[in-house]
C-alpha cells in the first residue's frame, strides 16, 4: 500500500459518510420548508407552529443543568418504541374531560427556537415532550390551587415534596413525585428574608421570616418546561405532520 493510495482510501472511506451523514442532511434539515394544510382541510395556507415562553434561554439551561441525562424529549414512532401509548406523554387521550385524542409522534417543528434538540440520554424520569400540557391537565383534574409554574418550581426544589396526582380515568399514569428519583435542584433557589407577603417565594415552611426564592434561571427553565406541549403546537397540525395512531383516516 503506497502512501498515496492510503490517503485516497482515507479520503474516500471518510469523505463519503461525512457528506451523506453530516453535510447533506444538515443542510437539508436547515431549510425545512413550511407545511401546507391539505385541500380537504378546513384551514388554508401554511401551518405556523406557535410556542410561548423563554424557550431559547430555558432550553440552554435545561441542557446545562443536565436534565437531558434522565429526561427524554422524543415520542418515537411505534416501530421504535411504545412511547405514544405511555400515559399522556404524547398528548392528551380522549376522556370525559378531553374532547379529542391529541397524541402524536414528535415532529421536527417541535424543537423550533431551541439551539439543540434535547433528545435525551436515558429515561429515568418521564419523557417531557408533553410536560406543559400534561401538567395543566393534571392540575385541572385534581382541582389543585397551584399554577403549573408553582408546581414545576416545587418539583425542581424538591421533587419528593410535590403532591401526587392521580388521573383515574386514563389508567395508572400519574406523576409519581412521592418516590421520585430526581435529585433536588436546590442550587436554583436562594434562601431569602421574607419582606411583606413574600411574593414569588415557594410555598414551603422553613424557619420564620425566611423564604425560598426561585432564581431567574429556575424561572426561565420552568417557562421552557411549560412550553413543551406536543399536541397541536398552537395551530392545528396539517395531516402531513399528524401521526396520531388513533386519528381516523380520510377514506374511512
Amino acid at each position: 500500500m503506497t502512501f498515496k493510495a492510503f490517503i485516497i482510501g482515507l479520503l474516500a472511506t471518510f469523505g463519503i459518510p461525512w457528506l451523506l451523514l453530516v453535510v447533506v442532511p444538515y443542510s437539508t434539515m436547515r431549510s425545512l420548508g413550511p407545511v401546507e394544510y391539505g385541500k380537504d382541510s378546513e384551514f388554508t395556507g401554511a401551518f405556523v407552529p406557535k410556542r410561548d415562553g423563554r424557550i431559547k434561554e430555558g432550553s440552554r439551561i435545561f441542557g446545562q443543568e443536565g436534565c437531558a441525562l434522565c429526561h427524554t424529549q422524543v415520542i418515537r414512532p411505534t416501530y421504535a418504541g411504545n412511547d405514544v401509548h405511555r400515559g399522556e406523554w404524547a398528548g392528551l387521550r380522549k376522556s370525559s374531560s378531553v374532547d379529542e385524542d391529541t397524541r402524536r409522534e414528535t415532529i421536527a417543528q417541535d424543537f423550533q427556537q431551541e439551539d439543540v434538540a434535547h433528545i435525551g440520554q436515558t429515561r429515568v424520569g418521564p419523557d417531557l415532550s408533553n410536560f406543559g400540557r400534561r401538567l395543566e391537565h393534571y392540575l385541572k383534574l385534581n382541582k389543585s390551587s397551584r399554577t403549573p409554574e408553582q408546581w414545576a418550581l416545587m418539583h425542581l426544589y424538591n421533587p419528593k415534596a410535590v403532591p401526587r396526582y392521580e388521573v383515574p380515568e386514563t389508567g395508572a399514569q400519574i406523576i409519581t413525585a412521592w418516590k421520585s428519583a430526581c435529585p433536588p435542584k436546590s442550587g436554583l433557589f436562594a434562601k431569602v428574608q421574607v419582606n411583606g407577603a413574600g411574593y414569588g417565594n415557594l410555598p414551603v415552611d422553613i424557619e420564620a421570616g425566611m423564604g425560598i426564592k426561585p432564581s431567574d434561571r429556575a424561572r426561565a427553565l420552568v417557562s421552557y418546561l411549560l412550553s413543551l406541549k406536543k399536541d397541536t403546537l398552537g395551530n392545528p397540525l396539517p395531516d402531513a405532520l399528524n401521526f396520531n395512531p388513533k386519528a381516523p383516516k380520510s377514506e374511512e
Partner: protein, 495 residues
C-alpha cells in the same frame, strides 16, 4: 558479518535511546496528568452512579448535580485521560516507528500544559452550569478551538516524523496512528462548526454531536488502541504479526464502517430515517474489524501464555483485545432494531460506552504505558503487586460495570416498553442495578489509585535501577523480552 550486525545493533540501541530521551518529558507529563484525570473521572463517576440510587446524595453542592457530574465524569475520562494517554502513545510510537528523534518536545510539553488547563476550565464551567448544554459535547463552545490548537501542536510533529522517515515498509501501527491523527481534526472541526458555529436545525445539531461521540471512539480511540496492540503483541512475544492481509483487512474495514457510527442515538426522532439506521448498522458491522484484529493479535501471541502472564504490557493489551471482541459481539446484540428499542434510552448505552472507553481503549493504553514508561525513565516498575492489583481490579470492575449497566438497562428498557407496568417500576429497576455500578467503580478507583501512584513514583525517577523488566511472575527462568538490555530489538515489529 557478525561484526556488522553488532555495529548496526548498537547504532540501533543508541538511536532508540536518543528517541526515548527526546520524548521523556512530554510523554511522562501526558501519561501522569492523564492518570490523574482518570482517578478524578472515576471519583466523579462514583458520585454520578451513587446519585442514581440515592438522589439526595451530596445535593448540598449544586455543582455536583446529577446531570452536571455525569457530564463532567465523561468529559474528564475522554479529554483528560483518554486523549492525553492517546497523545503520549502516538508521539512515542510514531517517533519509534519512524525512527526519528523528536525535536519539539518543549513545544509539546507546553501544549500539553495548556491542554490540561483548557480541560480543567471546561470541566469547571460544566460543573458551574455554564456548559454548552449539548449532550456529548458539554464543554462550552470556546473550549473546542483551544483543544484543537493544542491537539495540532502536540501531534503535528508525529506527522512530520512520518513524512521525513527513511523510506521503507510502513508498519500496521503506523497506518492506524496516521489515520487516527487525520480523522480526529476532521471530526472535531466538523462537529464544532456544525454544532456551535452554524445555525442548524436543533435535531441535526443533536445528531452531529452524537456522530462526534460515535466517531471519536471508532476513529480515534480504537485506532490508537489497535495501533498500540499491533506494536506490543509482536514486540513482547518476539514473533511477527500473524497475517499482514488480515491486518490490512481489519484496518480498512474499520475505516469503512467506523465513520457511520453515532447517529443511532436519534433512533425514532424526526430526522432523515437512514441516519439512525446507518449508525446502528455501523455499530453492528464493527464486529468485522473486531474479529479481524482480535484473531490476528490472538494468533500472534497464542502459545506464549507464559509471556502473557508475565508481561504487564502484553497482559493488559491482550485483555483489551479480548474485550474489543466482546465489544463487537455485544454491539451486534444491542444495535438490532428490537434491541435498540430497549437500549436507546437506558443505562445500557452508558455500560457500552464504558466498555469501549475503559475496557478496550484504556486497557490497551495501560499496556502501552507499562511498556513505554520504563524506556523513557530508564527505570523499571517498582511494584509487581501494584500492577497485579491494577489488572485484576480493572478487569473485575469493568466487567461488573458493563454487566450491571447492560443488564439493568435492558430490564429498564423492558419496563418502559411494557405498558402494563407503571412508569415508576422501570426507574426502580434501574436504581437497583446502579448499586452494582457504584461498587464496581469503587474497584476501578482502587486499581487506578495505585496505577496513578505508581506512575508518579516512576515520574519522580524512583523506579528500580535495573535492566530486568518487572515481570508479574517472580520466578522466571529467562526474560520474555529477550536478552538483557535488548528489550525491543526484534526486526519483526520494528519495521
Amino acid at each position: 558479518m557478525a561484526e556488522n550486525n553488532s555495529t548496526a545493533d548498537s547504532k540501533d540501541v543508541v538511536l532508540r535511546s536518543s528517541i526515548d530521551r527526546s520524548l521523556r518529558h512530554p510523554v511522562m507529563f501526558l501519561f501522569a496528568s492523564g492518570a490523574l484525570w482518570l482517578v478524578l473521572s472515576i471519583v466523579l463517576g462514583l458520585v454520578a452512579s451513587a446519585k442514581k440510587h440515592n438522589p439526595e446524595f451530596l445535593t448540598c453542592f449544586s455543582w455536583l448535580d446529577a446531570g452536571k457530574v455525569d457530564a463532567a465524569h465523561m468529559s474528564a475520562m475522554i479529554y483528560g485521560w483518554g486523549l492525553q494517554a492517546a497523545f503520549g502513545i502516538i508521539i512515542w510510537l510514531m517517533a519509534r516507528l519512524s525512527r526519528k528523534e523528536c525535536t519539539a518536545s518543549g513545544i509539546i510539553l507546553w501544549a500539553a500544559h495548556v491542554w490540561n488547563a483548557v480541560v480543567s476550565y471546561g470541566i469547571i464551567r460544566i460543573m458551574m452550569g455554564e456548559g454548552s448544554g449539548v449532550t456529548y459535547m458539554e464543554f462550552p463552545s470556546e473550549v473546542w478551538p483551544l483543544l484543537l490548537v493544542c491537539y495540532t501542536t502536540i501531534t503535528i510533529w508525529s506527522l512530520v516524523q512520518f513524512q521525513v522517515r527513511d523510506a521503507g515498509h510502513v508498519y500496521v501501527s503506523q497506518w492506524y496512528l496516521l489515520a487516527g491523527l487525520l480523522w480526529f481534526p476532521w471530526i472535531a472541526v466538523t462537529a464544532w462548526v456544525f454544532v456551535f458555529l452554524m445555525d442548524g436545525h436543533p435535531l441535526m445539531v443533536a445528531g452531529v454531536a452524537g456522530w462526534f461521540k460515535g466517531t471519536l471512539f471508532s476513529l480515534f480511540f480504537l485506532p490508537v488502541a489497535l495501533g498500540s496492540a499491533y506494536y506490543l503483541a509482536p514486540k513482547v512475544t518476539g514473533r511477527p504479526v500473524y497475517s499482514y492481509n488480515i491486518a490490512l483487512f481489519g484496518f480498512w474495514s474499520l475505516a469503512v464502517f467506523g465513520p457511520w457510527a453515532g447517529m443511532e442515538k436519534l433512533f425514532g426522532a424526526p430526522v432523515p430515517q437512514f441516519l439512525p439506521y446507518a449508525g446502528a448498522a455501523s455499530m453492528i458491522l464493527i464486529l468485522i474489524p473486531a474479529i479481524a484484529v482480535g484473531y490476528n493479535i490472538i494468533k500472534t501471541v497464542i502459545g506464549n501464555s507464559e509471556v502473557i502472564a508475565e508481561s504487564p504490557s502484553l497482559r493488559f493489551t491482550a485483555a483489551g483485545v479480548v474485550l474489543f471482541l466482546a465489544f463487537g459481539g455485544l454491539s451486534v446484540l444491542l444495535h438490532t432494531v428490537p434491541a435498540l428499542k430497549l437500549t436507546q434510552f437506558t443505562y445500557t448505552g452508558y455500560g457500552f460506552d464504558i466498555l469501549g472507553l475503559y475496557g478496550v481503549f484504556s486497557l490497551c493504553a495501560f499496556g502501552a504505558i507499562y511498556f513505554i514508561v520504563p524506556r523513557i525513565t530508564r527505570r523499571e516498575w517498582l511494584s509487581r503487586r501494584f500492577i497485579k492489583w491494577h489488572f485484576f481490579c480493572s478487569i473485575y470492575g469493568i466487567s461488573s460495570v458493563v454487566i450491571c449497566a447492560i443488564a439493568g438497562g435492558l430490564s429498564q428498557g423492558q419496563g418502559i416498553e411494557d405498558l402494563s407496568q407503571p412508569f415508576g417500576t422501570m426507574a426502580e429497576r434501574a436504581s437497583q442495578f446502579s448499586w452494582g455500578v457504584t461498587l464496581a467503580w469503587a474497584f476501578i478507583l482502587f486499581a487506578n489509585f495505585f496505577f496513578c501512584l505508581h506512575l508518579f513514583l516512576m515520574w519522580a525517577r524512583l523506579g528500580r535501577r535495573s535492566s530486568h523488566p518487572t515481570l508479574l511472575d517472580a520466578h522466571h527462568p529467562t526474560s520474555p523480552h529477550g536478552p538483557e538490555g535488548e528489550v525491543d530489538n526484534y526486526s519483526s515489529a520494528s519495521a
